[in-house]
Symmetry: C2
Subunit: 179 residues, 2 copies
């Protein structure tokens, strides 16, 4: 079995009550580097979880702002979360359009390869900078810190590899233009 948005929601709510809107922010801030979710999946997930008795909500009215629905984990929800996390198979998978591009580098126009590499390098460096900020936070549990350090280790390896690649690859994948 794999992790879905509903499990992510349960997980986030296990750390404290929140609205759907806040959950999205939380996902972006905290585990953007290994999962994601949009409103279109979060709101339905919360409804579904409530139908199943895993969360409840109260409405918080606000002046000059839309009312918020604050969701709270129930005892059943907490139990379900623990069970799901335990049963999930410990998988990981990369989906890299960048590597597809590189794989067929010989079909790209001159300069495109170098552009792709430096683009990816910039993105990786940004990711590192971001993770370093997160790592500095004092409120992280050991498991959370683990995910950040894992991300840092992986991204630093990517960065180093891409930097050395920038030097090695002159243009169009090492001048190996066939056809």
């Amino acid at each position: 079995m794999t992790i879905h948005v509903s499990t992510l929601c349960l997980g986030a709510l296990s750390l404290g009550e929140a609205s759907g809107y806040e959950l999205k922010k939380f996902f972006e801030e905290t585990f953007a580097h290994f999962h994601s979710a949009s409103f279109g999946s979060i709101y339905p997930a919360l409804s579904h979880l409530e139908r199943d008795g895993l969360v409840t909500h109260r409405v918080e009215e606000q002046t000059h702002r839309p009312a918020r629905k604050i969701y709270t984990l129930t005892a059943n929800g907490r139990q379900r979360l623990a069970q799901t996390l335990d049963e999930v198979e410990t998988g990981e998978q990369l989906r890299s359009d960048f590597l597809v591009q590189m794989f067929f580098a010989h079909l790209l126009p001159a300069g495109r390869v170098a552009a792709a590499v430096s683009g990816r390098l910039a993105a990786t460096e940004a990711q590192i900078a971001y993770l370093e900020q997160v790592e500095a936070r004092a409120d992280l549990l050991p498991g959370m810190r683990f995910t950040v350090r894992y991300g840092l280790a992986v991204n630093r390896a990517k960065r180093d590899f891409l930097r050395s690649a920038e030097a090695h690859v002159p243009d169009t994948a090492g001048g190996c233009t066939d056809e």
Copy 2:
């Protein structure tokens, strides 16, 4: 825009004609570490590509075996592939159920964290062994070799991190059991 199965098929066919069945094998052998595709998406993709005039096929009858449809890239197909590869945005994203598990390590039963880490370590080591074999092949174009080395760099970083984690984390995420 992102890479879809049809682009993967065009790419594989740019290296030589093949049947749908062979394409699947190729995907598994050659870029399993950054993309994937199942029959349920490959066959429809090929039909669609043929409708669009990007590939053609001939039927190869076999004795005692089902007939094969051997697909070939057309000139239009080759052009489209080059164009798509050029236009794709150079993205990359990880989807890690392992890290979700780690993030909520404090909710897991004793021993589960250690099991997850060593399971992931074994998978990573297998991946490295596999990539090392691929790297040894002489028929790889520079771009293809790049993807293999990238995979090796990333996975070795993961391996090293997980090994040191195995030592550091005694059980249940560093003895941080709350609740």
